[in-house]
């Protein structure tokens, strides 16, 4: 083989302008390093997909990568607003973005439908909620057996899914654990999958029924230690809660934000690693 690439090569080769790209990780294992590389490579017109946009999408939106946002909860967890997201939605800065807004449950149903090769998924939801009024991607169907009215949401099949995991072996098999979120689902939902990992090991030695992605479903594995910071990687490092708190101040002001991004993302050397 192998599917081992540098992060820079993986993003350059596999993510194109205008793509639909999902970066998943539910608080845990958020692929920050990959998001920064996308910003550095100035990918534009992306449809960004993530249940919880978090600081990583705040940065990508603020830097002009996003044409459209598919999401379900766009706050800074435990802190407050995502100011760059709000600035884009409320004031169209740096440019307007389209919003495809759902609920957490609906996002997971869309991911699992795509992973299972189905065009849509069924859930009991959105009855009485205004979300369905504003989002044509939420429809209602009747159960053919009971007649019950249920919500239907279309599969989300990104061009590229990017996740962060704790480990891969040299063959490119990936193992993650702890709060595994929807990473397996989004990886199997997408056409291509890029995984950044803390560590490359000789033998995964994964426990029974662990969350493992076999190498043959992974487009690229990139060795990026610390690639989830300031979120956390269970067993490697903690969430940097102080960063999330500090981000509120950094991101409130456009120029302050841009300066921070220049100094901390744009002018930094891309993370090395890979084969």
């Amino acid at each position: 083989m192998s599917n081992l690439l540098t992060l820079s090569d993986a993003i350059r080769t596999h993510l194109h302008q205008g793509d639909c790209v999902a970066l998943e990780g539910f608080t845990h294992l958020i692929p920050f390093a990959a998001g920064h590389e996308i910003i550095r490579q100035e990918k534009r017109d992306l449809t960004l997909v993530r249940m919880t946009p978090d600081v990583i999408f705040d940065q990508m939106i603020g830097m002009g990568c996003a044409k459209r946002l598919v999401f379900s909860w766009g706050g800074n967890p435990g802190v407050g607003s995502l100011h760059r997201l709000r600035d884009a939605v409320e004031k169209h800065f740096p440019h307007p973005i389209e919003i495809d807004e759902r609920s957490h449950a609906a996002m997971t149903v869309s991911y699992t439908a795509a992973a299972a090769g189905l065009p849509f998924g069924v859930m009991r939801g959105f009855l009485g909620s205004d979300l369905a009024q504003y989002n044509p991607n939420i429809k209602f169907i009747d159960c053919p057996f009971t007649g019950e009215r249920l919500a239907a949401v279309p599969a989300i099949r990104p061009d590229v899914a990017i996740i962060h995991a704790q480990r891969a072996d040299r063959a490119g098999n990936v193992h993650l654990w702890g709060i595994v979120g929807v990473q397996k689902e989004i990886a199997l939902a997408a056409r291509k999958v890029i995984v950044t990992v803390e560590e490359i090991v000789d033998d995964l030695d994964a426990p029974a029924n662990a969350c493992v992605l076999p190498a043959w479903v992974v487009t690229a594995v990139c060795h990026v230690p610390g690639g989830a910071a300031p979120s956390y990687a269970h067993g490697y490092y903690d969430r940097d809660n102080s960063f999330y708190q500090a981000w509120d101040e950094v991101s409130r002001d456009r120029e302050n934000f841009q300066r921070w991004m220049r100094e901390n993302v744009m002018d930094t050397v891309p993370v090395k690693g890979g084969a």
Partner: protein
């Protein structure tokens, strides 16, 4: 009443430091709200918990009268017993202390939609007189005055938990006649409109604020004040409510938080602050070792 921070959108669940401290064994309004919410979580209840005050209340209950309450967080942790409060919904602490950690999609399908959750705690930016919740926008959806974080897990918690409790700071901008946007259904237009919309679960049974408790009136489903917190007058509540709020005939007084409740709550907050300041200092509590043994210890 004591000074109460009128916090704005959307970081309304954070606390000012003076509230956190309070006088020894004299509860702040926020503490009263948390204690009252905790009391409503009965022993052994399976509870779907959101971050912020819901998480604080649920863990206070677990550490006092409901040690066997089962706490589920949407990040996928089931039966979690955090020793400090998580700052985010997916903190490692939640995984480390859980009976089992499943995927987020499984949490919403098998556990919440599967009907296994008895009680859901919800917060919101707005609640209206029929207990509908808004966490999406202030103003118009297409060109919002304030873009709030959005739905998250709330619409399904509101629809699928057997009953829900709403926790919110009492404020005319928050307790409104009609929410700008129904993110999560309460009783919709009141009466049987919730049932007619096809919702099969009980809906909100209480709105707990830092001033009082409101409950849906039988039949009309309008929220009425059923319980006033210590030192709070009807007038204070009426002025802080965005509709012409009514008071139940059998209006009761909230029992003052006990020393045990307050000391447990404050100790939990102290430990939490300590742990998070350790995080900030770069110390690592999640040690790196064999993944096979590190998570999911009951």
């Amino acid at each position: 009443m004591m000074s109460r921070k009128q916090s704005g959108f959307p970081s309304d669940e954070s606390f000012s430091s003076d509230e956190k401290r309070g006088d020894a064994m004299v509860a702040t309004p926020s503490e009263v709200m948390t204690v009252v919410a905790a009391r409503m979580l009965q022993e052994r209840t399976v509870c779907f918990v959101g971050i912020g005050i819901p998480s604080k209340a649920a863990n206070l209950a677990r550490l006092t009268h409901a040690p066997q309450a089962v706490l589920i967080y949407e990040s996928g942790t089931i039966g979690t017993r955090p020793s400090v409060l998580p700052l985010s919904i997916g903190d490692g602490e939640l995984a480390l202390t859980a009976d089992t950690v499943v995927s987020t999609s499984e949490i919403f399908s098998y556990w919440l939609q599967g009907g296994r959750v008895e009680l859901g705690f919800l917060g919101a930016a707005q609640v209206d007189r029929y207990a509908n919740l808004n966490s999406t926008v202030i103003g118009n959806y297409q060109s919002p005055k304030v873009r709030l974080p959005g739905a998250g897990g709330a619409p399904e918690i509101a629809a699928q938990a057997k009953e829900t409790l709403i926790i919110i700071n009492h404020d005319r901008r928050k307790l409104v006649e009609k929410v700008d946007f129904i993110t999560s259904a309460g009783y919709l237009d009141g009466g049987d409109s919730r049932e007619r919309a096809g919702l099969k679960t009980g809906g909100p049974t209480a709105v707990i604020t830092d001033l009082c408790v409101l409950r849906p009136e039988f039949q009309t489903r309008e929220l009425v004040v059923t319980q006033l917190h210590p030192g709070v007058t009807r007038q204070t509540v009426a002025e802080a409510t965005g509709w012409d709020v009514r008071f139940a005939e059998d209006l009761t007084q909230t029992q003052v938080p006990s020393d045990l409740e307050l000391s447990t709550l404050r100790e939990l907050e102290r430990q939490t602050a300590l742990a998070h300041s350790n995080d900030a200092a770069g110390k690592t509590s999640l040690t790196r070792n064999n993944p096979t043994a590190e998570v999911t210890r009951p």
